[in-house]
């Protein structure tokens, strides 16, 4: 027996040492070989496959293998890949995630590439490139696309309510009485007997169509739920952005806005939080159960695809400062520090960030590329499909965007803010209870 056990052990040892050899292969300095590239949005896969094909045509020595994984699995698989050594060479990165990756030394700095290859960072929409400079001053991504927030509305329901689309595009809001934004939401709400939300005898417990859809409790970012409102009051998520060390959820301006927003549930204009578990907000909209949904530009394709529903897009309302506002979020491509093929990876990232690839992406009309000229082409591609996306682009044109709050420990902040916001949206706790959550959040940074 001993002999065979020994043999097994020997075989195992050989296998281990073989794989160890593979693991410690010296990083290639030549730009050739195969690169693994990951992204999460299936809608964008065809565009990037086209980019990869074009790239290989121009660089026959480099092959790009693209893997698409859904958002829910993407980040855990990626993190596990960092540890196991199986992470992709290049991947689509998010502002909420990259600070941690950077601080854990998992990303390759792109400063040398920018310097050596003389990349012009001014071709991108203003501010997008700087989002990817981490706290250590190094650059960890080249911009690929951006998104803003707007209102999707059901054209028929709006018309039935006697509103013109022009009116909807010129709403205003304030945290005290909600302005014409709340008036529109109230009037678009219809109960089962046909009474509108602003009419006498409206039954808020039997609503057939809600004026405004509710996605979820929104947690700490409120990107598509309330960030476009809070920003018009002068409130910011953190003391500074990027790399804030103190959150402002205890600010009365913020809590006032949240109190107004969650008050819509109490008034019967927005669905209760408990009813939103399950059916997605966009599907309720598609089923004609909500007149307006606030959402991001990455959802354009989804919202315009429902059969029997004509969808219009209006910009978010103007706030107390007399302006509109939208969070400006940008994705980028990053390189994993453990790549065995850094030279080829850099080349691929540079290609992804170039006008050649971003024009291809633009032509598909699914997302706004980061390069200014390419995003104009994307707007035209959307238009060719019959969708007017000016509600999203107006923020960029008029400079009413504010940057996605970049901070360390984003996952932990969300872990605290999600239940805290859920409690407020479900009406269990007042908006002032968010001060307590804020203390816990700020304790993370001490």
């Amino acid at each position: 027996m001993k002999k065979s056990i020994g043999a097994i052990a020997a075989a195992a040892a050989i296998a281990v040492s073989l794989s160890a050899c593979g693991g410690s292969a010296p990083a290639s300095t030549e730009a050739k070989g195969e690169i693994n590239y990951w992204l999460w949005d299936a809608n964008q896969l065809p565009a990037y496959q086209k980019c990869a094909d074009d790239f290989t045509k121009a660089n026959p020595d480099i092959k790009v293998k693209i893997t698409q994984r859904g958002w829910d699995d993407y980040w855990t698989t990626l993190t596990n890949g960092f540890v196991a050594g199986t992470a992709p060479d290049v991947f689509t990165d998010h502002l909420a995630k990259y600070p941690e990756f950077a601080s854990k030394k998992q990303l390759l700095s792109l400063d040398d590439a920018v310097k050596n290859d003389k990349l012009d960072l001014d071709i991108y929409n203003k501010g997008l490139a700087d989002l990817w400079v981490a706290e250590d001053g190094k650059r960890y991504g080249l911009p690929k696309d951006w998104d803003t927030v707007a209102m999707f509305y059901n054209k028929k329901l709006v018309k039935d309510a006697g509103y013109t689309e022009e009116q909807l595009k010129n709403l205003d809001w304030n945290p005290q009485d909600g302005g014409s934004y709340e008036k529109a939401i109230a009037h678009l709400t219809v109960d089962k007997k046909g009474k509108r939300g602003d009419e006498a005898g409206f039954d808020k417990n039997n609503v057939a169509v809600y004026g405004l859809g509710l996605e979820d409790g929104s947690a700490g970012m409120g990107q598509t739920q309330w960030s476009f409102l809070t920003a018009t009051t002068g409130w910011t998520h953190t003391d500074k952005n990027p790399w804030g060390k103190e959150f402002n959820y205890d600010d009365p301006k913020f809590q006032e806005t949240i109190a107004w927003w969650t008050g819509l549930v109490e008034k019967g204009y927005m669905p209760k939080l408990e009813t939103t578990v399950g059916t997605e907000i966009q599907d309720s909209f598609g089923a004609g159960k909500a007149a307006i949904n606030t959402s991001g530009s990455w959802m354009i394709g989804q919202y315009t695809s429902y059969k029997g529903v004509e969808t219009g897009i209006a910009p978010t309302p103007k706030g107390p400062n007399g302006k509109r506002a939208s969070m400006f979020n940008g994705l980028a491509d990053s390189i994993w520090a453990g790549t065995k093929n850094p030279a080829a990876s850099v080349k691929w990232v540079e290609y992804l960030a170039s006008a050649e690839c971003q024009d291809v992406v633009a032509s598909k009309g699914v997302v706004f590329p980061a390069i200014t000229t390419s995003s104009e082409k994307a707007a035209e591609a959307f238009k060719a499909k019959g969708t007017d996306v000016s509600a999203f682009t107006t923020h960029v044109k008029e400079g009413t965007t504010f940057m996605f709050p970049i901070a360390d420990k984003a996952a932990k902040v969300e872990g605290i803010m999600k239940p805290a916001m859920d409690a407020v949206v479900s009406g269990k706790k007042p908006a002032s209870s968010l001060s307590e959550a804020n203390e816990k959040v700020n304790a993370l940074f001490k």
Partner: protein, 318 residues
């Protein structure tokens, strides 16, 4: 009736264990030979045990004394994770929610399974029906959870459509704080009751028929027979079933993960969900390991108490 005669011919064969084997007078050398063979057969299972259970457990205990974000090296911080747990409201909430879930899940599951087992034993002799009871268990957990998630959906689920046709208000089964845990418990009762019933059914079949015959000769009522004969003789099987299902129930995760993900607020944030959130969501593997160690200790205690006080390892038949 075939089963009956078979049992009479061979009373209690599955239960009565062979009398404890007396130490053989076989030579020491011979037994050493057995040992070698035994090791040979144990070896493959042993590798699995060491690689997939022993080493991860030891490493998990070690990690519970560290701060570890999976990227980078663990830093030793002593018992800090454990002291942090004491003041962690979410940990205590998770324990309370889990206990509530286990209570509902095991309570209903055991009673229903016992009823089903009795029916299988006495009434439903058809293999088809007995097999059909097991069907839910054959469907993967996540699929069961998702099916019920859709059927019980507030806006589009068929159950709520029926409820609203009947003129009753819709129920947010997974969305409301009051309903979330009972709903998740009910879904898992539905999935597991057939399997649990099968285990109990096997126990019922091992009760020798002559005991029942004597009882009926003595004029015992069916209720009396159930409480005085069936239940006591079923005890070892029931203990086994309870130990296994309680441990499984404490580890509920998949159903929660694919439906409520711990919400609304913290209403269904069971301990495994919280561990997952801390480890894979917030990259706090040290703290998550400490939580896992505590869960391990609790489960070991629960199993020990059950075995000890319900005397699961001895049968009244002996």
């Amino acid at each position: 009736m075939t089963t009956l005669t078979k049992q009479q011919q061979d009373p209690a064969a599955p239960v009565r264990r062979p009398k404890a084997a007396k130490p053989d007078r076989k030579s020491f050398i011979h037994r050493l030979g057995d040992l070698k063979v035994a090791l040979f057969f144990i070896f493959p299972a042993m590798i699995g045990f060491v690689v997939f259970y022993l080493i991860p457990t030891i490493r998990g205990v070690y990690l519970s004394f560290t701060e570890y974000s999976i990227l980078g090296e663990p830093t030793w911080i002593g018992i800090k994770n454990y002291t942090a747990m004491l003041g962690d409201e979410l940990f205590w909430n998770a324990m309370a929610v889990t206990v509530q879930y286990v209570g509902l899940n095991i309570g209903f599951q055991t009673v229903i399974a016992l009823g089903l087992a009795l029916l299988m034993h006495r009434v439903a002799k058809s293999t088809f029906i007995r097999g059909a009871l097991l069907l839910p268990f054959l469907v993967a957990n996540v699929i069961v959870a998702l099916l019920w998630f859709w059927m019980l959906d507030y806006q589009l689920g068929i159950v709520n459509e029926v409820i609203s046709w009947m003129g009753l208000p819709r129920i947010a089964f997974f969305g409301s704080e009051q309903w979330a845990i009972p709903t998740i418990a009910a879904v898992n009762v539905w999935r597991h009751m057939g399997y649990t019933a099968l285990l109990i059914f096997a126990g019922l079949q091992s009760i020798p028929n002559h005991v029942y015959e004597v009882a009926s000769l003595d004029g015992s009522s069916p209720t009396r027979t159930f409480w005085s004969i069936t239940m006591p003789l079923l005890r070892p099987v029931m203990v086994l079933v309870l130990v296994v299902t309680v441990i499984g129930s404490f580890q509920v995760f998949d159903t929660v993960a694919v439906t409520t993900a711990g919400g609304p607020i913290n209403a269904s944030r069971v301990i495994q969900m919280y561990i997952y959130q801390k480890a894979f969501g917030e990259s706090d593997f040290g703290y998550a390991s400490a939580l896992s160690v505590i869960l391990f200790v609790i489960l070991a205690l629960v199993a020990f108490v059950q075995m000890k006080f319900l005397k699961g390892n001895e049968s009244d038949l002996d």
